[in-house]
């Protein structure tokens, strides 16, 4: 035990004396401060703006005077996506997905008002958030602290003295592991504090299983940092010189944390592309016109509907109906359109999900990608959570439009679009209230995949480090 302590103390002195530890700790302090400040400010501001805008929009909705329900259906409501506490830690793809959905009649809009459009190109290089600092900066710091731990001892001949003192390979590995862990904790302390503090300080709604999510995030990030420590030790144990160790580690970390995620994500985008917006919209229009199978044109549907309604009420002319045929026709149009929207939007979200599945499969070569994949899910800032939000908005859109069409069917007989409904009807339409979901099976699959990948990398790297140390000890 004393040997372990002595080795750790010597490594600490080395890192302190050649300024690596103080410089890296200072860098980490600055980054932690900027990341925490800007992330808390962003989420708190966005959430306050959303809440105010939602309240204002509700007031506008309730303040509408007498009007035809279909005019109001076109105006409809807007669903605004709330941020969550954990999005302050990892904003995921929130900025690239829209934040508002206009729930108008006849048309399911994708979410728009993407925050990414209001950001500088510089942000596309790197987004300074607590998650990014732990995914990218922390490994570089660990490498800078740990690359010479074994390699320099061999270069300087200290290795022989250690071997002669009878320290076993396991004890030596334990000592170096403890050294690097301690050094990393000291250097990364500000980043770790910022990561804990940011979601707590952000004023935003919590997910129902916030504690579970936070627990998983802590566990996965701790495992990731352990994996990086193990990789650093393994490379240092096998490298002949400290320079070679640094070259390999820098290349490896840059490759797995920076290059591979972008390359894999691009490849996944090519393998399962989302349609061009114009193509997507053309598909929707064609579906609305011809039906999903292309054999049920709008004219034929209208004719069939009229015949069915006339038969149902036992009358020969539309004018003799006891209800508004315009209202029935509008609702029938909505119901047909809903099948078209479900078909196309499902295909769109399935394309995103396939991209993620492809990237996840390749994340075996990049623990950073595995971690970020799970991290955005746990932070509630991924496509799964966005799909939940869009589904809730779409369901609410259908409720609003149905309610307004039904009022028209019952009350607009003979008047149709000249009928004016009382403002009490607007108050009867529910407000859009959205709560983020708890983790479901799909989300848990992303988390467990990351856990397995990170565990395998950690174990494999530790094994390699152990073999490397023993090999040199024998030599």
């Amino acid at each position: 035990m004393s040997a372990v302590f002595a080795i750790a103390a010597a490594d600490f002195k080395d890192a302190w004396r050649d300024f690596r530890l103080p410089v890296l700790a200072a860098l980490s302090l600055v980054l932690a401060f900027v990341a925490a400040w800007t992330s808390v400010d962003r989420v708190t501001r966005l959430e306050a703006e959303r809440a105010a805008a939602h309240a204002q929009d509700r007031e506008t909705w309730l303040g509408q005077g007498m009007a035809n329900p279909h005019t109001i259906a076109h105006f409809s409501q807007v669903a605004m996506k709330p941020a969550t506490h954990l999005a302050a830690f990892d904003p995921g793809v929130n900025a690239e997905l829209g934040a508002t959905i206009w729930m108008e009649a006849h048309w399911q809009n994708p979410a728009n008002n993407r925050a990414a459009e209001d950001t500088l190109e510089a942000q596309r290089f790197a987004d300074l958030t607590p998650a990014w600092t732990l995914q990218i900066i922390a490994p570089l710091v660990i490498v800078a602290l740990g690359f010479p731990l074994f390699a320099r001892a061999r270069e300087s001949g200290l290795w022989r003295s250690l071997a002669a003192s009878g320290v076993s390979a396991a004890a030596l590995l334990t000592a170096k592991f403890a050294s690097l862990l301690l050094l990393s904790l000291l250097a990364l302390f500000p980043l770790i504090v910022a990561a804990f503090w940011t979601p707590i300080a952000a004023d935003a709604p919590a997910a129902p299983d916030q504690t579970v999510r936070a627990g998983w995030l802590i566990g996965l990030y701790a495992l990731y940092l352990l994996a990086v420590i193990a990789i650093t030790l393994a490379v240092s144990a096998w490298a002949r010189t400290a320079r070679f160790s640094l070259a390999i580690l820098s290349g490896l970390i840059i490759a797995i944390a920076l290059i591979a995620p972008r390359a894999i994500t691009s490849a996944a985008d090519l393998a399962s592309p989302a349609p061009a917006p114009q193509v997507f919209e053309a598909g929707l229009r064609e579906g609305l016109e011809a039906g999903i199978d292309g054999h049920n044109s709008a004219d034929a549907r209208a004719e069939a509907l009229e015949q069915r309604v006339l038969a149902q009420y036992g009358v020969a002319r539309v004018e003799d109906l006891p209800v508004s045929f315009a209202g029935i026709s509008l609702q029938a149009g909505e119901e047909h359109a809903n099948t078209v929207f479900d078909h196309h939007f499902s295909a769109l979200y399935d394309a995103y999900a396939r991209q993620r599945a492809i990237a996840r499969a390749w994340s075996w070569i990049s623990p950073s990608l595995a971690l970020s994949d799970a991290s955005i899910t746990l932070a509630g800032a991924d496509d799964i959570h966005h799909r939940h939000f869009t589904a809730a908005a779409e369901s609410h859109r259908r409720t609003i439009i149905r309610q307004l069409n039904e009022d028209m069917i019952v009350n607009a007989r003979g008047l149709d679009f000249d009928y004016l409904a009382d403002p009490a009807l607007w108050a009867a339409v529910p407000d859009f209230a959205y709560a983020p979901p708890a983790l479901d099976a799909r989300a848990r699959a992303h988390v467990s995949h990351a856990l397995i990948v990170l565990s395998c990398w950690t174990l494999l790297a530790l094994l390699l480090a152990f073999v490397g140390v023993r090999r040199w000890a024998k030599a």
Partner: protein, 448 residues
């Protein structure tokens, strides 16, 4: 002597696993970048063309008399043939709108936001990415120890016994090692540009390659300079990688975070709520607005169906109200983004990565400036077209096919796209200084 050193170094590199690995990695990255960007740029262009064709097809099918509300025009940001080099904001910013009597400023660009969020988040893997992020790393791997490792191993002493001066050795090796990265990059850029369906604009291609050359020359200058320092090769590698991380990640990250925190754009959600409130008010007050409007415009008495005229007038009244409500917030957005951009422009003098990113995207026609100019011009076109259509629409007057065909068409004025490459000139000057300083120091390189 110079040629001999190059030949010797080439022999050395051809047996060096690291050099071969660098070349292989570079070639793989270039092939993937060209394929990936070509696919994305192709799909983008095809989508725009499909929508243009659909709108013109509908216009061709119009029958006389043509209602003014039937006239539609596409406003499209023509995809640049060089977008295959830098995708820039291709999939992020709107590039098309269908303009008609009904178009409203706030809803002109809509339903375009469905590109893969993961790909947008990760950023495009295009030639710009290879030039700005990957190439410097490979140049560091090849060049960080080109003289220093010989000094570390005492081989430099032997080399200096030959007639070649240290400066000649450094220059020859720098040229060779930089060429291993630069030549394939430029070959890939030229091939990719010519793979496009349309001929690439040569001036823009020259600007793109010039920008990339300045950026890579700066890196090579820095690497050569590091080789004149009295440090070990591994220390030089660490220093160069640290500079790489600071220029490529730290400064851009801190810049964007600070700019967004200091000059946050106004609330998008708040804007949506404000505009909807204006629309609701417009709907309520449309009858009174209409009376006032018709009082001011007696020449617009309905010639056709009075009901249709009333409906169109109400529509126009609401649009005018909403657009009036949009004026101030739009200005606030513009101001906030300009303030953020001013910070980014300053940061371009702190990191060549940001300067090169803007220069390459602007040269490829996919930068912020061209997209912003397109939005402004498309909005101005909308105002012009609606101005033409309004009189006819408000008086419910029908048009002939000839009138419809004569309606304005959108054409982007590319000369109005601002270009400012001052930061690249600054980095060119820094690169020149670095080379001069390196040459001065190289003559004093000692073998130990």
């Amino acid at each position: 002597m110079f040629a001999t050193i190059i030949r010797q170094d080439l022999r050395l590199l051809s047996r060096d696993g690291l050099a071969l690995a660098v070349l292989a990695a570079l070639l793989a990255a270039l092939v993937f970048a060209v394929m990936s960007a070509r696919e994305i740029a192709g799909a983008h262009a095809a989508g725009l063309a499909q929508e243009e064709a659909r709108i013109w097809q509908r216009q061709a099918e119009l029958e006389e008399p043509v209602g003014p509300t039937q006239i539609r025009r596409p406003a499209t940001l023509e995809p640049s043939p060089l977008s295959v080099l830098s995708l820039g904001r291709t999939r992020l910013d709107p590039a098309q709108a269908e303009v008609s009597f009904f178009s409203r400023l706030d809803l002109m660009f809509r339903d375009y936001q469905i590109a893969s969020p993961f790909a947008l988040r990760a950023g495009a893997f295009d030639l710009s990415f290879v030039v700005i992020v990957i190439a410097p790393l490979l140049m560091i791997a090849l060049g960080a120890g080109m003289v220093l490792s010989d000094r570390d191993s005492a081989r430099l002493r032997m080399m200096m016994a030959s007639p070649a001066s240290p400066a000649t050795i450094l220059l020859a090796r720098s040229l060779l090692r930089a060429s291993i990265v630069v030549v394939p990059v430029f070959a890939a850029a030229i091939i990719a540009a010519h793979l496009s369906d349309r001929a690439p604009p040569l001036a823009d291609l020259a600007l793109w390659t010039g920008g990339a050359l300045i950026y890579l020359a700066l890196w090579q200058g820095l690497i050569a300079f590091a080789n004149t320092l009295r440090v070990r090769a591994d220390a030089a590698s660490v220093g160069l990688i640290a500079v790489w991380a600071i220029w490529i990640f730290l400064i851009p990250a801190v810049t964007s975070a600070t700019a967004a925190a200091l000059h946050p754009p106004p609330s998008r959600a708040g804007l949506v709520a404000d505009l909807r409130a204006a629309e609701a008010r417009g709907r309520e007050s449309a009858p009174e607005d209409l009376i006032r409007f018709m009082h001011d415009h007696p020449e617009l008495q309905a010639q056709g169906d009075a009901d249709i005229a009333d409906w169109m007038r109400s529509n126009a009244m609401i649009r005018m109200r909403v657009e009036a409500a949009l004026r101030d917030p739009a200005q606030e957005f513009e101001t906030a983004l300009q303030s953020q951009d001013a910070i980014a422009r300053l940061a371009e003098f702190a990191t060549p990565a940001l300067a090169a990113n803007r220069a390459l995207a602007d040269a490829a026609g996919t930068g912020e400036a061209r997209h912003r100019a397109f939005r402004r011009q498309a909005q101005a076109f909308k105002a012009d077209l609606q101005g033409m259509l309004t009189d006819a629409a408000l008086s419910a007057r029908s048009l002939t096919r000839a009138d419809a065909d004569a309606a304005a068409r959108f054409a982007m004025d590319e000369s109005a796209v601002p270009r400012n490459a001052s930061s690249m000139w600054f980095w060119l000057a820094i690169a020149a200084l670095l080379f001069a300083w390196t040459a001065r120091r190289a003559s004093r390189i000692t073998p130990i």
